[in-house]
């Protein structure tokens, strides 16, 4: 079943049961977060262990994109961790 989510301000079609990482990677992205020293990060472990894939979902920071399933209307934003 198709749903819609908002990725960084853009409406994107997604499937019920996809994770946020699944939606972002199906859309051709490999990175979306910026590490402390400004390096790009995306999925690394894929199973919720490394925390490389963090995103902001509906204003909530530090959500693991590889673990969170999308819900219709989700608002996904990218986070920068350059607060060293």
């Amino acid at each position: 079943m198709s749903i819609h989510v908002n990725v960084a301000g853009e409406q994107v079609e997604a499937q019920v049961g996809q994770t946020v990482a699944g939606v972002l990677m199906s859309g051709g992205r490999v990175s979306w977060r910026t590490s402390r020293s400004g390096q790009p990060r995306g999925v690394f472990c894929g199973i919720g262990v490394c925390f490389d894939c963090l995103v902001v979902v509906n204003d909530l920071r530090d959500v693991r994109a590889c673990q969170r399933r999308v819900v219709d209307g989700d608002r996904i934003e990218f986070q920068e961790d350059d607060h060293a």
């Binding site: 990677m25 490999v30 590490s35 472990c45 894929g46 262990v49 963090l54 530090d62 693991r64 969170r68």
Partner: protein
């Protein structure tokens, strides 16, 4: 009030080990609470598309899929099994002479307003599995570098290929199913690069490497992968490693070098391979944090058990990867024994025999593909080691030399390595080994403390406040 009755077996983890434990405990008449963080059972081995996206070809991604369906259906249809999905066990409370209380947060991963529950088990089976160990190399933090398990999880759980032209590298037979899954989701596999050389592999597996495996489904499974690789003309290179990845904002090429028997790269053997993704795994690390918090004694990084899968804490059992990396068959056998004994029964003899076979398999696996110390020579000082706090190998080595400290804790506090949001799960072992090499022959004073973590899964601050009220 904590929930539970005199005959409740609580099982943490719904992978092969936890599923087998649940069913065995039910056969002995106990009530079971099975707690799994994901939204279905199956664990890493039987990771699959969620029901909402189910496809007819799911079985082609798996081995033993019928067996999984049968086990799953017995669990979900049994009214005496309370299956808690999206249940994140974040801690356990030690008690004298009894299994600990089990604290669970139920709801979406990293969500808000989740439901807190606490269980009071008569026996507890901890079956939390393992995560991968990937040795750092220059450029391993570039997007497009994944663990092999990530490629596997994205293929099995999302039908996403991590790249179009992918190299698979690291050590061990686990690299083979990853190739198989990548092919199924449409990627081209540029090759498999195994760090162990033939001498290490043949010595480890013994004179007749497949004799042991042939008797089992595992041998058939592995042979299938090898045939698939041959059919697709995928080169398999042994005694070699990816020692660097290059690219701007994403991996564009990797450098592969031949290794000495101790895994040091041999200068002059470097070859550059063009890829858009590389998947690297050098082994697995048991997820022991809950067992440690429960007070279970460890044997190096695995949980100590007796022949009945009992840990050193009364009423606490463990099964699967926590007792040593052995794969699905060992997990199933150990789970069955743990569940039966946790429910007050005797260990099933057939499971005891299978456990013996697959422990031997696990021992050979480690001898044939276990990590050798020479890997540190491909980690130059600019290599990022801690991905959360962006700490390089040079910073670790300099701090050890300049402070003269031999304390792992204090060196970590100074560098911040391993203290980021993943709590050192990704880099902890590498940090410890790089520091141990840098402090010299006397070694670290508090080696091996990397796996000690107060929280098994992250909580939101507000949630911690509410659980305080509920449990009190």
């Amino acid at each position: 009030m904590p929930e539970g009755s005199a005959t409740t077996v609580v099982v943490i983890g719904g992978g092969p080990a936890g599923m087998a434990a649940t069913l065995a405990a039910r056969r002995r008449g106990a009530r079971v609470v099975l707690i799994e963080a994901g939204d279905d059972v199956g664990g890493q081995y039987w990771r699959h598309l969620p029901e909402t996206r189910a496809t007819a070809d799911e079985h082609t991604f798996h081995h033993g899929w019928e067996r999984f369906r049968t086990m799953r259906s017995a669990i979900v249809t049994d009214p005496e099994v309370e299956l808690i999905l999206n249940g994140h066990v974040w801690s356990v409370d030690r008690r004298d002479g009894r299994p600990p209380l089990v604290h669970v947060m139920i709801g979406a991963a990293d969500g808000r307003r989740r439901q807190a529950r606490t269980f009071d088990p008569s026996s507890l089976v901890i079956a939390t599995g393992a995560h991968e160990r990937t040795l750092p190399f220059p450029g391993w933090d570039l997007p497009g570098v994944f663990t092999a398990g990530a490629a596997q999880a994205l293929a099995k759980g999302e039908r996403v290929a991590v790249g179009t032209n992918v190299l698979v590298a690291g050590a061990g037979p686990f690299l083979l199913p990853v190739v198989s899954s990548l092919l199924k989701v449409g990627a081209t596999v540029a090759g498999v690069v195994e760090a162990a050389g033939w001498p290490q592999i043949t010595r480890g597996w013994g004179a007749r490497p497949w004799r042991l495996a042939k008797a089992s489904a595992k041998g058939v499974e592995l042979k299938g992968y090898i045939a698939e690789m041959a059919k697709n003309r995928i080169p398999y290179t042994v005694g070699s490693a990816v020692i660097a990845a290059h690219g701007i904002d994403r991996v564009e090429e990797v450098v592969v070098a031949r290794l000495t028997p101790d895994w040091s790269p041999i200068p002059g053997t470097e070859k550059t391979i063009t890829v858009d993704a590389v998947c690297v795994s050098h082994g697995f690390v048991p997820r022991t944090e809950l067992a440690i918090t429960a007070g279970c004694a460890l044997d190096k990084d695995t949980v100590k058990t007796d022949q009945n899968q009992r840990t050193t804490v009364p009423g606490v059992f463990t099964a699967g990867e926590l007792t040593g990396i052995g794969g699905v068959d060992l997990a199933l056998a150990e789970g069955e024994i743990a569940g039966a004994v946790a429910a007050g029964g005797a260990p099933p003899p057939a499971a005891v025999r299978r456990r013996k076979t697959f422990r031997e398999f696990a021992g050979r696996l480690d001898a044939a593909h276990g990590i050798r110390p020479g890997w540190q020579t491909w980690v130059d000082d600019t290599t990022l080691v801690c991905r959360c706090e962006d700490v390089t190998a040079g910073e670790l080595r300099d701090t050890a030399r300049m402070t003269g400290s031999r304390g792992l804790r204090s060196l970590k506090l100074t560098t911040r390595a391993g203290l980021g949001i993943c709590q050192g799960r990704t880099c902890g072992r590498a940090v410890e080994e790089i520091l141990a090499a840098a402090v010299g022959p006397d070694g670290l004073l508090d080696a091996g403390r990397t796996a000690h973590r107060p929280l098994a899964v992250p909580l939101r601050l507000g949630e911690l406040a509410t659980t305080g009220e509920d449990a009190g």
